[in-house]
Amino acid sequence: MKVIDKILLGLSATGMIALMYLVFMVVPADRAQGIVQKVFYVHVPAAWVAFTAFGVTGFFGLRYLMTRDLRFDRLAASSAEVGVYYITMVLITGPLWAKPIWGIFWTWDLRLTTSFILWLLYLAYLILRRSVGDRERRAQLSAVVGLISFLDVPIVYMANRVRASQHPAPVVGGGEGSGLEPIMLFTLLFGLFVFSTTFVLLLRARNGQAALEDEIEQLYLQRD
């Protein structure tokens, strides 16, 4: 384990515990929504990280197409896998909040639909990767599909925006009347930091594993 991974692991582990402490012990409950609102400190950072992860997949897919270096393909694939994990967390925590607040688990609103389609897009990307045997072909086809999926995300968002949205508007950098109590904002940003270090940690771990997989595959092909 490299030093950087140890640092990341330490930051993520202690950070996660500190985040839970902040969420449950320090931050006051929301006046209108009560304790249910606290899922927000997990839900929002996870969503931010997930969207970034898919951007990373698109970026490294493009890098692969430019260089034909399998290192970039592994990074793209690892980022998609970890991204799917995060977006799944978003899709689980969202309905948990929505049921008591909206009275329903799910509605086809702007952010919900976009997140759900994002989840489908990247699951399809991972299914594609598993069904191509040849290593270079897998890298090339998934880079193309990853790029097209990435281009699709803003259009999915715009299409859903044409319809009305009932998801809470962004509380950070949103319109007039948005904004958070300082301690709430701090917890949110701290959550984002912890989720980001965890993302990088998982990405690096998965990427190292993928490199070993490729190495084993090479050895297997050369065994005769």
């Binding site: 594609l128 069904s131 090339q140 097209i148």
Partner: protein
């Protein structure tokens, strides 16, 4: 060979191959028609407004039948060694893409018109519904569908899952297009409604331009790997 001659050659080859076998046309029309029939039984049109049933029925039929058509086309290209021919030829990859795209547009357009003709009878559509905007949405929707589908059909063909891969890849990417097509068609079929139609048409146009550009640039990478 010049760029446009390649486009024409690919188109001519595909049209000739289809003329001899007619398998894309028959599967597309048959499956599309069956989808409309399934919709009729699933959502009894006598108990719903026209705009609540027809857009969904038509676009579901087009989208699902299109998957069969695209798979048939890619499978045939692979059997005929036409895929191999395209890979080994020195022709511009963008021209090959445009040729395949135009051929698919011809096949799907003809198939859609047949399904539409029968839908006119089933759903009692007339001049009030079949406006220029109606056809604009049909054309934009079909172009967007095939702009992505033409690329992904080849991708699917190269995986172990083959035919099954195409819908898994294609449908999530097409959700905004489907949404725009269904909503736009519904607005046209609603008596006296017009609001929001422009937004949906713009969105479809943007989708078409973006993914035709992407397909034009990426088709070569999908062909040869």
């Amino acid at each position: 060979m010049s760029f446009w001659r390649v486009v024409r050659a690919v188109l001519a080859r595909d049209v000739l191959a289809e003329w001899r076998r007619k398998d894309i046309f028959t599967t597309f029309v048959m499956f599309g028609l069956l989808t409309v029939v399934v919709f009729v039984f699933a959502f009894d049109p006598t108990r719903h407004e026209r705009q609540d049933v027809v857009p969904g029925a038509l676009w579901t039929a087009f989208f699902f039948a299109g998957i069969l058509g695209l798979n048939r086309s890619a499978g045939r290209d692979s059997q005929d060694e036409f895929l191999h021919g395209m890979i080994t030829s020195p022709a511009d990859r963008g021209a090959l893409y445009l040729g395949k795209l135009t051929a698919h547009l011809v096949f799907m357009g003809v198939g859609e018109l047949v399904i539409l003709a029968l839908s006119i009878v089933f759903f009692d559509l007339d001049g009030r519904h079949l406006t220029p905007a109606f056809f604009a949405i049909m054309i934009l929707g079909t172009i967007g569908y095939l702009a992505v589908g033409t690329v992904f059909a080849v991708v699917g063909q190269k995986t172990r899952l083959q035919e099954v891969m195409l819908p898994v890849l294609l449908l999530p990417v097409l959700t905004p297009l489907l949404m725009a097509a269904v909503e736009g068609t519904a607005i046209i079929l609603t008596p006296g409604a017009n609001e929001g139609l422009g937004h949906w048409i713009q969105l479809m146009a943007a989708f078409d331009v973006m993914f035709m550009t992407a397909g034009f640039l990426l088709y070569g990478l999908v062909l040869e790997d």
